[in-house]
C-alpha cells in the first residue's frame, strides 16, 4: 500500500480514519463561536448603551470591564474565568444549600468566550452608535418615538453598517480564540486534532488538516460578511 493512500485513509470520516473526529471538532468550534458571538453581541449592545447613557458608577464599572478584558491575555482570562466561574457557581449553590453541579464544558466555553467578546463588542457598538447622525435620532424623537422604539427602528439599523466591519473582525477573532478552549480540556477542533495526531503520530498531517478547516471557516465567513454588509449598506451612497 502506498503511503499517500494510507494518509488519505487516516483522514477518512469513518472510524479507522480520524476525519470524523476532526469534523465533529470543527462543528463544535463553530457552535461555541456562534454561541459566544451572540452572548458577546448582547453584552456589547447593553454595554455600549450603558457607556453612552449610564450614570457615573455604571460607566466606571463598564470602563473597568472593557479595559481589564482587553489588557489581560486571552489565555489567562479564559483559564481564570473557567475556573473562577465554575468554582464560584458551585460555592454560590452551596451557600444556598443546593447540591453542586458539574458545569457543561460547552456552556462554560460559550460563557467565557462571550464575556471576552462582550468587552470588544462594547467598544465596537459604542463607536458605531456615535457615528449615527444625531439629526436622524432627533427626527425620530420629534416624531414622538419613545427611546426604546427609537433604538429599535432608527439607531439599530443605522449603526449596523458602521459596526459590521468591526463585528466581522470579532467573528474571526472568536473562531480562532475558541482554539484556546482546548487548553482547559473541552473537545473542539484544536483538541480533537491533538488527540488524533497523538494517537496516530502523524502530527504534521493532522495539524495541517485542522489549519485547513479553520481557514475554510474564515474564508466562508468572509463571503457571508461581505454579503451581509452589502445588504445593510443597500441604498447608501458608495464612497470613493
Amino acid at each position: 500500500m502506498s503511503s499517500s493512500q494510507s494518509l488519505l485513509e487516516l483522514l477518512s470520516p469513518y472510524p479507522p480514519g480520524w476525519g470524523g473526529v476532526l469534523l465533529a471538532g470543527a462543528l463544535s468550534t463553530v457552535l461555541i463561536s456562534l454561541g459566544a458571538y451572540l452572548v458577546g453581541i448582547a453584552i456589547g449592545l447593553v454595554g455600549a448603551i450603558g457607556k453612552l447613557k449610564g450614570n457615573r458608577p455604571v460607566r466606571f464599572v463598564l470602563d473597568l470591564y472593557t479595559t481589564a478584558v482587553r489588557a489581560i491575555p486571552e489565555l489567562i482570562l479564559i483559564i481564570g474565568l473557567y475556573y473562577a466561574g465554575t468554582d464560584g457557581l458551585n460555592r454560590l449553590l452551596a451557600a444556598l444549600g443546593l447540591p453542586s453541579v458539574e458545569i457543561n464544558g460547552f456552556v462554560a466555553a460559550v460563557a467565557v468566550l462571550g464575556i471576552v467578546q462582550g468587552a470588544y463588542m462594547t467598544e465596537v457598538f459604542r463607536g458605531a452608535i456615535l457615528a449615527v447622525p444625531v439629526g436622524q435620532i432627533e427626527a425620530a424623537a420629534a416624531f414622538g418615538m419613545r427611546p426604546r422604539l427609537r433604538f429599535r427602528r432608527i439607531v439599530l439599523p443605522a449603526l449596523m453598517p458602521n459596526a459590521l466591519p468591526g463585528l466581522a473582525n470579532l467573528w474571526m477573532c472568536v473562531t480562532k480564540d475558541s482554539a484556546l478552549i482546548a487548553v482547559v480540556g473541552y473537545q473542539e477542533l484544536a483538541l480533537a486534532t491533538r488527540i488524533a495526531a497523538g494517537n496516530t503520530k502523524h502530527y504534521f498531517l493532522f495539524f495541517l488538516a485542522s489549519a485547513a478547516l479553520y481557514l475554510a471557516i474564515t474564508l466562508i465567513s468572509n463571503v457571508l460578511f461581505a454579503a451581509l454588509e452589502r445588504r445593510f449598506r443597500r441604498g447608501q451612497p458608495k464612497t470613493a
Binding site: 491575555p73 486571552e74 489567562i76 480562532k176 504534521f204 495541517l208 474564508l219
Partner: protein, 229 residues
C-alpha cells in the same frame, strides 16, 4: 488570599518575565522586518509575488496561532529528526527547545498581521511626497528608505502599538510547548501550592504593566514628530 509563595518563587517569576519579553522582542523585531518585505511585495511586486504574499497573509491570519504553534512544534518538530545529520549538529540543542518553535511561529504570525497594517500605510502615503522625491532624482531604493517607508511607519504607528500589545497577549500560548514563560510559572505555582487565583493575579499584573510600558513607549515615539491637525 495567600501571597507568601512569592518569596520563594520570585527568581522563577523573574525568569518567566524575561522569557515573555524575549519572545515578544524576537517576534516583533524579526516579524517587522519580514512584514516590510511582505507589504512591499503586495504593493509593488509583480503579480505572482503579490499573490504569494497575499496568500501567506490570508493563511496565517485565517488560522489560530495555537494551531500554527502546534503544527510547528509537533508537526515540523516530528519531521526534523528525519533530516540526516541534524541531530548530531550544533543546531540541535536550539532546535529541540520549545522556545525556538514558539519564537518562529510568533514571528511568522506577527509578520502576517503587521504586513496588512503596513500595506495600508504604504498606500496612505500622499502621492505628492513620492513624486517630490522622484523629481529630486532619488532612485527607488533611496525613495523607499528616506521617504516612503518612514512615512508609512509613522502613519501606522498607532496601529503597530495595538499589534504589539496583541502580540504580548499571545505569548502565553508558548506555555503549551513547554516554554517557562510568565504564564507557565503561574501554572507551576498552582501545581506546587494548589493556589489557583493568586498566581494568576500576580502574572496578570505583570502583563498589564508590560502593556502600559508598551503604550507609553509608543506614545513617546509618536510625539517625536509633531503632527499638525
Amino acid at each position: 488570599m495567600d501571597f507568601s509563595w512569592i518569596f520563594s518563587y520570585w527568581p522563577l517569576i523573574a525568569a518567566g518575565a524575561v522569557q515573555t519579553v524575549l519572545l515578544l522582542v524576537i517576534s516583533v523585531g524579526f516579524g517587522f522586518i519580514l512584514a516590510i518585505g511582505l507589504a512591499l511585495a503586495q504593493v509593488t511586486g509583480p503579480r505572482w509575488l503579490k499573490l504569494l504574499a497575499r496568500g501567506y497573509c490570508t493563511c496565517l491570519r485565517g488560522t489560530p496561532l495555537l494551531i500554527q504553534l502546534w503544527l510547528l512544534y509537533y508537526g515540523v518538530g516530528s519531521l526534523l529528526p528525519m533530516i540526516p545529520g541534524l541531530r548530531a549538529s550544533f543546531l540541535w540543542p536550539i532546535l529541540r527547545e520549545g522556545f525556538f518553535f514558539a519564537a518562529v511561529s510568533f514571528t511568522l504570525n506577527y509578520a502576517a498581521y503587521e504586513a496588512e497594517v503596513l500595506r495600508g500605510a504604504l498606500l496612505a502615503v500622499p502621492k505628492g511626497e513620492l513624486e517630490a522625491g522622484r523629481s529630486f532624482g532619488m532612485s527607488s531604493w533611496t525613495l523607499l528608505r528616506r521617504i516612503w517607508l518612514p512615512r508609512a511607519i509613522r502613519i501606522a504607528l498607532p496601529t503597530i502599538a495595538g499589534e504589539v500589545v496583541l502580540q504580548l497577549k499571545a505569548t502565553p500560548l508558548a506555555f503549551t510547548v513547554t516554554v517557562m514563560d510568565l504564564y507557565a510559572v503561574a501554572y507551576k505555582v498552582r501545581q506546587d501550592t494548589l493556589l489557583v487565583y493568586e498566581p494568576l493575579m500576580v502574572v496578570t499584573v505583570f502583563y498589564v504593566c508590560l502593556t502600559l510600558i508598551i503604550t507609553r513607549a509608543f506614545r513617546i515615539v509618536e510625539a517625536q514628530v509633531p503632527v499638525r491637525r
